[in-house]
């Protein structure tokens, strides 16, 4: 672009000016990189007490990173011209992600390989693979992971209910707007509030209204959190109550985007309500459905708040989720090193699991279409 606008510069001159600009860019980048590493080494030396420079905090390294990031952007433009300008639009986001996501994750990995209990006077100590070994031997962790399988499977039930409600709200029913808002209300509540309002008050087994009602209906001992499966089901029900509206609203948006003429064509073609759903509506909704289910599974894998507040994982770990287990490891035992190992390990499992789901979903959708 700039070459066509500035014909005053001869090709030879342009080439040389470009060359010098590129050289300057490389020089700038090298200088900034050297600065970054020098500050890093100085900080490490200072922190280890090898050299006393008198640095109070790690802030100089942070500033050096910002300077290096700015130099990297500028150097891209200088070295690569227009391509560099394009890169400069993406680079800030990349550098920010590196600083805020990648670095903490990697640093967390370091913590995961240390023995670090907040209540211990000794502080942090590298302990190799000890945390990983105890993780593999930890039956509570594997128990929580097994519970996650049940919780994830419950998403399918939630999906079926949400789809039904979305169909209902999409139909020509009376007071449709009222029901739309009413069905959305649970989504607007904080799960913590839900745990106390419902799990701890409404379902309290001595005086809770739900328990009282159940007794009136002839259930002798309506302790909703007493046996493993009952407790798990109660937690799932509360979780469903909060998250079904979210799925429902996405599915409703999908339903409303379906072309009416196709549904009318099915009607003229003689499809009954059920056939029209099975043959037309459901297949056309598959992309939305997959998105909804995958999103919800990702959320479900992080389920913790309701469990922590209502059952704290009990009875006997029956309702424990991995997140609530990690929470207890941090909060009750102050075991930061092991807790971080659990979190990092769980992150790896989630990444693999979700990647597999996405892969499977895209392959399945391709076959369907």
């Amino acid at each position: 672009m700039s070459q066509t606008i500035t014909p005053a510069i001869s090709p030879v001159e342009r080439k040389t000016s470009q060359l010098t600009s590129a050289r300057r860019g490389r020089l700038l980048l090298s200088a900034a990189t050297v600065l970054l590493f020098v500050v890093l080494i100085l900080q490490i030396l200072d922190a280890e007490g090898i050299a006393t420079i008198g640095l109070v905090s790690w802030r100089p390294l942070f500033y050096a990173y910002i300077v290096w990031a700015a130099a990297l952007c500028a150097a891209q433009v200088m070295i690569r011209g227009e391509a560099g300008q394009r890169a400069a639009f993406v680079l800030p986001a990349v550098l920010f992600t590196v600083a805020m996501v990648v670095f903490p994750t990697v640093f967390g990995l370091y913590i995961a390989f240390t023995d670090w209990n907040l209540s211990a006077a000794a502080g942090r100590r590298f302990n190799g693979l000890d945390n990983l070994r105890s993780l593999f031997a930890d039956i509570y962790f594997w128990n929580a992971l097994l519970n996650m399988v049940y919780y994830v499977l419950s998403v399918l039930v939630q999906y079926a209910i949400a789809f039904g409600l979305a169909l209902l709200l999409n139909a020509e029913i009376k007071a449709r707007k009222f029901f739309r808002v009413a069905f959305l209300l649970p989504l607007m509540l904080s799960p913590v509030a839900v745990s106390w309002m419902i799990g701890k008050s409404l379902m309290e087994y001595r005086f809770g209204p739900a328990a009282t009602l159940a007794r009136h209906l002839g259930w002798d001992n309506p302790a909703f959190f007493s046996t493993p499966w009952l407790a798990r089901t109660s937690i799932m029900a509360m979780d469903a109550w909060v998250s079904i509206p979210f799925m429902m609203i996405l599915l409703l948006a999908g339903l409303q985007a379906l072309p009416t003429e196709i549904k009318e064509a099915a009607k003229v073609d003689g499809a009954s309500g059920w056939q029209s759903f099975k043959e037309i509506t459901f297949p056309l909704m598959l992309p939305v459905s997959m998105t909804v289910i995958i999103l919800r599974i990702i959320f479900q894998l992080k389920l913790a708040d309701i469990v922590i507040n209502v059952t704290a994982g009990g009875p006997g770990g029956a309702t424990d989720t991995v997140s609530s287990f990690i929470f207890r490891e941090y909060r009750d035992r102050s075991n930061v090193g092991y807790g971080t190992m659990l979190a990092e390990f769980y992150l790896v499992i989630i990444i693999i699991f979700v990647a597999l789901i996405l892969k499977g979903a895209s392959r399945w959708m391709q076959r369907e279409n």
Partner: protein, 353 residues
Amino acid sequence: MASMNIVNVGKAYGSLTVIHGVSVEIPDGEFVVLVGPSGCGKSTLLRMVAGLEPITFGDIRIDGKVVNDLPPKDRDIAMVFQSYALYPHKTVAENMGFALKMRGETKADIDARVRKAAEILDLVPYLARYPRQLSGGQRQRVAMGRAIVRDPKVFLFDEPLSNLDAKLRVQMRAEIKELQRRLATTMIYVTHDQVEAMTMADRIVVLRDGRVEQIGSPLTLYDKPANTFVAGFIGSPSMNLIKGHIRAVGEPFFVTHEGIRLPLARAPSGSDGKPAYYGIRPEHFTLGGEVSAEVTVVESTGSETQVFARLGQQKIIGVFRDRVEEPLDHVIAMTPNAALVHLFDGESGLRLD
């Protein structure tokens, strides 16, 4: 194959009546075109026939049986939608066989009938494809195939050609007409395009604002339009409607508002001095004669020339086989053929005969 009776059918949304008692009788095997400007209620009427829209009053009968409250699937009709409404996740064969599958027919039977319909429509090579892999014209044909596979009593078409380009539209027009002749099934076809209506219909129903303006064969509508609306709507370019008065004393003639005298072959009795419209089709002018007009635009298509001119203050159009190379703003002599003049009442717009 069936006859259809639409008896005084109307549609109201609350207090707003959009169709005011339309009656059309369609004998078995006839091709009827509903035509009118957009918003005239033609699509609503078709959807009421299909059962997609409830009827407010009146009766719709298929083969003498009232179907007002029957759902679409029990009316034994097939419909081709403007957007084709093909099922995007089904192949061409599945699209065409869907209605048969819903009816619970055997797979072998469905395959055989789909194949037969595909042969009629030249769709055999595309049976395994999905709608998105087809061109507009092929999709249109699949939509028709979906209708003919079922062998319904009545075919309904809702502006099926309006998404096609001009050339394909002309071609599909002929194909649909030929298909109708071959299947000899009753068809109701909705369009806003009067050329489509003229070329395809056995009979045309002209609608305006939810009322029937005229029902008749294409040439009846062309030769004897019942009112100024039909006169202006049917034919392209439209008929010239010149305001003025009839003079019936002695040799009849017509005087425009500006006092220009136009020839008349005859005048209805007792119409002397009556305000009226002088209707003359553009192709019924001849060059020369005693009437002259001021040329504003000349458009030549090669085979014919359209002359836009001013007769007094009123705009008129003439179409001529001859080349006209009259400079603009010049006066050209163009005289109406007195035998082919239509007269309409100046107030009601109804035909005077």
